[in-house]
Amino acid sequence: MALLEVRNLSKTFGHHTVLDGVDFDLEAGQIKSVMGPSGCGKSTVLRCINRLVEPSAGTIVFDGKPVTAARSDLLAIRQRIGFVFQNYALYRHLTVIDNVTLALRKLRRLSPRAAADRAGAELRRLNIDELAAQYPAELSGGQRQRVAIARALAMDPAVLFFDEPTSALDPIMAREVGGIIDRLRRDNVTVLCVTHDFELARTISDSIVFLSGGRVRAEDSGDRLANDYGDPHIRDFFTKGRTSP
């Protein structure tokens, strides 16, 4: 059984259908990317999975538990899904170490010492332990990205969601993020990454779900998607530029 099963996921905002019957699975230990042109509903997929946005239809099963059921323990499920946001969304009033320990203290009920130890290990894993006492405003974009990843990893999630992890970074930092996700693969971290950065998706992913017009057009490796598909949505994306609607 897959760690995450998404079936017939649909989402409409008013009369606008953003997702129209999306299906895919994510196996434990797998790194999968969701790609597609801007506005195709990539980020909405992530938000629907942990119900930051309520799906209009469809079922989502995470680790055998129905996320979309009325009586699902949503808070417990969310604690097992790490989420790294596009703009990092660090808590501006907290230092780096407090950003990472907050959920450990408030949700996992760890003592301040135990939470700091746990957070310190994650900061060291991402080579940012010297930033522990800094505030988010004092960090560069790449450093904020790492703090956001450390914050998500500290909760020991079953899967890590990345929402456009390279969109706000320069090419060098974007490559660094690719390296970090690649290191997570070696630690057997399961990743679902939404991106329009094909190079990132091709480098890190076991497979790529290609989304267009709210539907899954294909799921395959990056190289095969770029070269072998006759679907006009996919062909246009790779030949006419990757941000066309």
Binding site: A76, R78, F85, L102, K106
Partner: protein, 217 residues
Amino acid sequence: MNLAEIFLTLLRGATQTVIVTILCSLTGLSVGLGIAIARRLGLIWLEPLFVTFIYVFRGVPMLVLLFIAFFGLPSIGISVPGHVAMMGSLGLIAGAYLAEIFRGALAGVQHEEVEAALAAGFTRWQALISIEIPQMLRMAVPSMVNEFTTVLKYTPFAYTVGIPEIMKQATAAVSTTLQGVEIYAMAGVLYFVIYRLMLVCVRLADRHFTIPGLSSI
């Protein structure tokens, strides 16, 4: 009664002034925070009540509200001490202003941070207490200080409901000594000293709580 004795009398009045200022400020803080939190939690059905409260308490003169509380309520069988009447007038007026100050400060809290907390498994209440309120309070410090200063400057009205604060002591001393200029000048200096002490406390707190990237409203 020499000036030294009068000064000591005024100092005793200053204690009452400080007590009234603290009581009314705490009332305002509680009411303002309560309204801000209820609004943030989306308790829409309470909104007409909040709008009416803010409209009335910002629009009616403080002395009128104080007299209603202290002299009006006994006619319907409710008697309140002077301090409670001050809290029910000046304190609630401060609450009405602070509710609007907090609303502005809450608008400065980034939605993405709340979303990140919810995504991590925080309840809406936990996100409010851990993320939004701490940021809001920091951003609102200058406006809050303004409001607390206003409270201090309105405390002489406590004189009218029998609280022996600075102005009541000063007026009593003037009536027996006829040294109005000296005594009221001393009263003014005492108010100024209390005001400066408030500012020093707030600056120390502000320095302690100031965070890079979080600007005040």
